[in-house]
């Protein structure tokens, strides 16, 4: 029973506590992003035209590709979690590695997109390229939201890679514990947030 830690006396209770803990954390994260979404909505109501014009300036192709990548990573993460439940070590390892690789792929594409945004002068401040009132605020939100999402994704890639490394070394408590489930839920939060960011930032202003 080396998987059992203080102060728990049964593995089942420890698993419940870990799963409950991550759900509370996710609730807390939703309030965090909820604050951002609320502010975004307020400004969207104040400046509908500026937001439409600015929304048409984001890179739809990269955004769509990234959505596809992230949703795929969600599937590979789910594979890892379910394989863990069935006790299939090799499948867990593959699932985690693929997830981490897709996460890195997302960030590489995002970096390309950021470079393009900077070149086009879409950074708020003195040299901002657009003149519609509200467009600058749209891009403020674009940068804050995608940056915070990227921070979460970086933590996620780090956690998944570390888990894969420790599993490979045989140093991970994955049998019977909630570890994989907790990492999985965190990863799905990253997808979930992106599912909201994608229409807000990329699809807005493209309806014709």
């Amino acid at each position: 029973m080396s998987n059992l830690h203080e102060p728990f006396q049964t593995l089942a209770r420890q698993r419940n506590a870990a799963e409950f803990g991550i759900w509370i954390f996710l609730a807390s994260e939703l309030v965090f992003f909820g604050g951002l979404f609320t502010c975004y909505s307020v400004y969207r109501l104040l400046y509908p035209q500026g937001f439409l014009a600015a929304g048409a300036e984001t890179n739809l192709i990269i955004g769509t590709a990234n959505t596809a990548i992230l949703l795929t990573s969600s599937a590979t993460m789910a594979v890892a979690v379910w394989a863990g439940r069935a006790g299939l070590r090799r499948h867990v390892l593959w699932g985690l590695c693929l997830t981490a690789m897709l996460g890195v792929g997302f960030m590489v594409l995002k970096a390309v997109e950021y470079a393009e945004d900077i070149r086009k002068g879409l950074v708020p401040g003195a040299g901002f390229a657009m003149s519609e009132r509200g467009a600058e605020i749209f891009f403020s939100f674009y940068w804050i939201m995608t940056a915070i999402h990227a921070v979460h994704l970086t933590i996620g890639v780090g956690a998944v890679s570390l888990a894969a490394w420790r599993l490979w070394r045989g140093a991970l408590d994955w049998r019977g514990t909630a570890f994989l489930h907790v990492v999985g839920l965190y990863w799905h939060l990253i997808d979930l947030i992106w599912i909201f960011l994608f229409p807000l930032l990329y699809l807005l202003g493209r309806g014709g």
Binding site: E6, P7, I24, V31, C39, P124, G125, I137, F141, I148
Partner: protein, 565 residues
């Protein structure tokens, strides 16, 4: 340690494992500990330092205000002083104080647990708190911040030329510490209760920490996001709160108070929990209306989220919004009043004794009632408009936060000190300090109600001469208060050095934390306790709790092996 080395401890017929204080004595064993009791003491140390820094700033301000002219410090220095005082006291003392010190120490003991659910996360929270505190302090010492503790935009984002970014980053980091602590307590209460400890048998202190944790987890992230926006605005020139570029400065206040009003209940709810434990113990009466108390705690926690707009009656929000927020602010007085009525009913007919912690707790009830009633003034829009940003506001929130929460913190510290250290303090000194604090507090802050009603604005370093008498009274009260805060440091230190041994249960209280040794062993209980009755099983007629006579575990406890190790 043998029983012989612990005079005052009843003869158990077996020897105890070493107490948590003796389980490793190196600095490393403290700084890397995962023991909730030691982490509680780490917090106690760091919070005391923050309290002293914030207190010194207050003392300088009160000295400046003794004369109408701004002759001691410049206006700019004065702005930085009240910001230092507010930032440190609110974010690094009042909000974390009770949950992280008494909560950490007592909560697992009170539910019969060995530790909190995530001990390493608990230690990590302390380091986050220290990191946030250091960031904020460095900002305040490098040159200070002049925005006030609320960081209102657009002043904080566009005009202030002080270290707002660093201070906001410090508060942001401390916020994560709060969230981690809250999460830990919620999971602990759900998963670590001992056998027989049902939800309706939880001590009300545990309920209040539980409700506080829900607020911590669900409100703090809103503060985090708005602080991140301030930092983004200052560092990257985003323009979110810049009216010239279409930004809305009022939006900041909405999100800020969505956190910061519930934050008042983060401060006061744990205080209410502490006071309930103390009042029931020293009146030897079962808490009146236990269920009503539980629902009042949860009601305060929930309604706390819907009243933030009463901070914004003069901000330019719509009249309709102000009316709604006014109504909701009156509603939240109902559960608070239920608690005051139930405390009074608990005392009624009780066998009351006036130990120091009881004096602090009684002081809490009076000062909290005073603060709460003036809160009703402020929920009424016309009165609020009249006294907005005057000393009336200053007096009101000091009655709640300092008169209320700090009194409760001291009540709890005195109540659980024998459990924490295993030693008693000088009861005479402690009673004197409690009375001095009550008197000093009222002399300091009551004149401020009058000053505010007469129209003296807050945050000014000089004032017209006709306000001087009341200001002098207030400053004089602050000196008494300083003395009252210094006294406990002396007699607590003396108690550590040569206090008499406390024994397991010096107050003859009924909580589970009193069923183990003082100070408790590393694992809290040699054998996990089993709960078979409702909490607060006090009987005033005998002046004795019945626990000792018919405790069903007594047999079991007595035939434990000689050496459990």
């Amino acid at each position: 340690m043998t029983d012989a080395a612990r005079p005052g401890t009843p003869d158990r017929g077996y020897s105890l494992p070493p107490s948590y204080l003796n389980a490793g004595t190196t600095l490393k064993s403290w700084l890397l500990t995962t023991d909730h009791k030691r982490i509680g003491l780490l917090y106690l140390a760091s919070i005391t330092v923050f309290f002293m820094i914030g207190g010194i700033a207050a003392a300088v301000m009160r000295t400046e205000l003794m004369t109408p002219a701004g002759d001691l410090v410049s206006a700019d220095t004065y702005n930085r002083l009240f910001t230092l005082h507010g930032v440190i006291m609110v974010w690094f003392f009042l909000i974390p104080a009770v949950p992280t010190t008494l909560g950490n120490f007592v909560l697992p003991l009170a539910i019969g647990a060995r530790d909190v659910a995530f001990p390493r996360l608990n230690l990590f929270s302390w380091y986050l708190n220290i990191a946030g505190g250091s960031l904020a302090l460095s900002a305040l010492l490098l040159g200070g911040v002049d925005t006030g503790w609320t960081f209102y935009t657009p002043y904080s984002t566009l005009y202030s030329n002080s270290y707002v970014t660093l201070a906001a980053a410090g508060v942001f980091v401390a916020g994560f510490s709060s969230i981690a602590t809250g999460l830990n307590f919620i999971v602990t209460v759900h998963t670590q209760r001992t056998e027989g400890m049902g939800w309706m048998r939880l001590p009300l202190f545990v309920w209040s920490i539980y409700a506080t944790s829900i607020i911590l987890v669900l409100a703090t992230p809103a503060l985090a996001i708005v602080l991140a926006m301030i930092v983004g605005e200052r560092v990257f020139d985003l323009g979110l709160f810049d009216p010239r570029r279409g930004g809305d400065p009022i939006l900041f206040q909405h999100i800020f108070w969505f956190y910061s009003h519930p934050a008042v209940y983060i401060m006061i709810l744990p205080g209410m929990g502490v006071v309930t434990e103390v009042l029931t113990c020293f009146s030897r009466r079962k808490v009146f209306g236990y269920e009503a108390m539980v629902f009042a705690i949860l009601g305060i926690a929930i309604f706390g989220f819907f009243v933030w707009g009463h901070h914004m009656f003069v901000s330019g929000q719509s009249t309709f919004a102000s009316l709604i927020f006014s109504l909701l602010s009156f509603v939240i007085a109902v559960p608070s009043a239920i608690k005051v009525f139930n405390w009074s009913a608990t005392l009624y007919g009780g066998h009351i004794t006036f130990e120091a912690s009881m004096l602090y707790a009684l002081g809490f009830v009076g000062l909290f009632t005073m603060g709460g009633l003036t809160g009703l003034f402020l929920a009424s829009i016309p009165i609020d408009v009249h006294v907005t940003d005057t000393y009336f506001i200053v007096a009101h929130f000091h009655y709640i936060m300092v008169g209320g929460m700090v009194s409760a913190f001291f009540a709890g510290l005195h109540f659980w000190w024998p459990k924490i250290t295993g030693r008693m303090y000088s009861e005479g000194f402690a009673r004197a300090a409690a009375l001095l604090m009550f008197v000093g507090f009222n002399v300091t802050f009551f004149p401020q109600f009058i000053l505010g009603f007469m129209g003296m604005p807050r945050r000014y370093w000089s004032y017209p001469p006709e306000f001087q008498i009341l200001n002098l009274m207030s400053s004089f009260g602050a000196m008494i208060l300083t003395l009252a805060y210094a006294l406990p440091m002396i007699y607590f230190a003396l108690s550590l050095w040569r206090g008499r041994m406390a024994g397991d249960n010096p107050w003859r209280a009924t909580g589970l934390e009193w069923a183990t040794a003082s100070p408790p062993p590393r694992e809290n209980f040699v054998q996990r306790p089993v709960v078979d009755r409702a909490p607060y099983d006090y009987h005033p007629a005998h002046g004795e709790p019945t626990e000792r006579e018919d405790d069903p575990d007594r047999e079991k406890r007595d035939d434990r092996p000689e050496d459990p190790a």
